[in-house]
Symmetry: none
Subunit: 237 residues, 2 copies
DNA sequence: CAGTGGTCTAGACCACTGG
DNA sequence: CAGTGGTCTAGACCACTGG
């Protein structure tokens, strides 16, 4: 705060200050922060202005207020679980000891007409293609076929996917700003049945996934789960 | 507003007034509402108090503000399309000419142990049970079995479901504040296969749905879609 | 120009909490 | 009791919009 940001309203400056104190760990979860009166003294503003900063952060669930007691740093939010459907890509992580995978395909290819259109490429353009089977506790839980836009993830083929999953790598080089899913029940073909190690041809959950980073499509994937696999999605309105 | 609600703060009373004006259609979408100054005169409060009411409603996206211009009734929210998965209940509407349904079951029943626990009832308590098949263009697109908490929708059995769908009725008496979905691929049993008019036993999409209104569970449903049915879900991060 | 919303002040009274 | 957050007032100055 040594250098004042003239363009920012004072309540916003105080918000930034409080945010920084929390993010830097100076004010820990559950700790009491200065009162409105104290902040108004510290920042030489009226109590109403200090209050506004604190109140807006409370509205954002960063702080918790209790009349008579004070204002406290709130528990970290459980990441607004609007939709756990994303989780099935995130739960596949090498930091998870039960996780493993098998790379079936990892190649450069040329874009077929339909796929080119979706990825925003021209027919015949270079693209990357991968097929990976994901296991949890040595049981196959997902067959993943993925077409990747090489303009966005140029080094996709050169990664070591025994250390990081393809989706994790993509999310790192081009964080998804939008993801679209289509869910269907399907009967898997022989190739997929074999890859998933299914004893019989039983119904599977097919998820078609398209991810964007900004206005560019990063990848399109076809994900097949054994029918017993349950996809959770929670929506809080 | 003829009878003042003494326990409610004045800014909250003004919020209620504005909300009512909008919901009753007195103030239509896009119309300008009274200025802060006008409201402070009308309600005999300071401008800061009138402002608080308007500002909080703007934060809730019910109003739109523009400096120098005024405050306007905002476009109805497109229900934050975090997840179009909800749509499959909303797209079933009698205002849709291609839509029709068939009521297979609509009865009072007693709660089996598991269902009672989920609905927050005791085993043997009264509950409502319905089974409805939904058609689009005379093709069955969903088999819906629903258990309803009678404390929340006491008149559930008495509605005319050729005019309003069960879900629409529930959403009207107890707007869902939270909905949870579980998606699985399953093979339907003979009863469902018959009800959906499937020629062969083919894989179906099963959606288990639980909805809350406040802290109470309104209903739990089992929805079965033919495998060809595609469930869309779009997630904007 | 008069009117709008955005920011801000320096006070006030209240119900509530802990010691 | 002194301190907290919740509500509220009667002013103020500002940048901005339209006519």
């Amino acid at each position: 705060m040594s250098q004042a940001i003239y363009s920012l309203p004072r309540y916003a400056q105080i918000k930034t200050y409080i945010r920084n104190q929390i993010e830097s760990g100076q004010w820990k979860v559950g700790e009491r922060i200065p009162s409105e009166n104290q902040l108004s003294v510290d920042f030489v503003v009226s109590r109403m202005t200090a209050r506004r900063a604190v109140q807006e952060l409370a509205d954002e669930n960063l702080l918790q207020r209790a009349p008579g007691l004070g204002t406290f740093v709130a528990e970290p939010q459980i990441a607004t679980p609007v939709l756990e459907i994303t989780d099935f890509t995130q739960q596949f992580s090498h930091s998870n000891p039960e996780y493993s995978n098998r790379i079936l395909v990892l190649e450069e290819s040329t874009a077929e007409k339909n796929i080119a259109a979706v990825l925003g490429l021209n027919q015949g353009d270079q693209l990357f293609h991968s097929v990976v089977v994901h296991y949890r506790d040595s049981a196959a839980v997902q067959w993943e076929e993925c077409y990747v836009n090489p303009q966005i993830a140029a080094a996709y083929l050169k990664q070591n996917y025994s250390k990081v999953t393809p989706q994790a790598y993509l999310n790192w080089v081009a964080p998804a700003t939008r993801v679209e899913h289509q869910v269907q029940a399907v009967m898997p073909n022989a190739e997929i049945t074999g890859a998933l190690g299914l004893q019989t041809i039983s119904s599977c959950l097919k998820v078609s996934r398209r991810s964007w980073s900004g206005d560019k499509v990063v990848s399109i994937s076809k994900l097949i789960h054994p029918g017993s696999y349950s996809l959770g999605a929670e929506l809080i309105i």
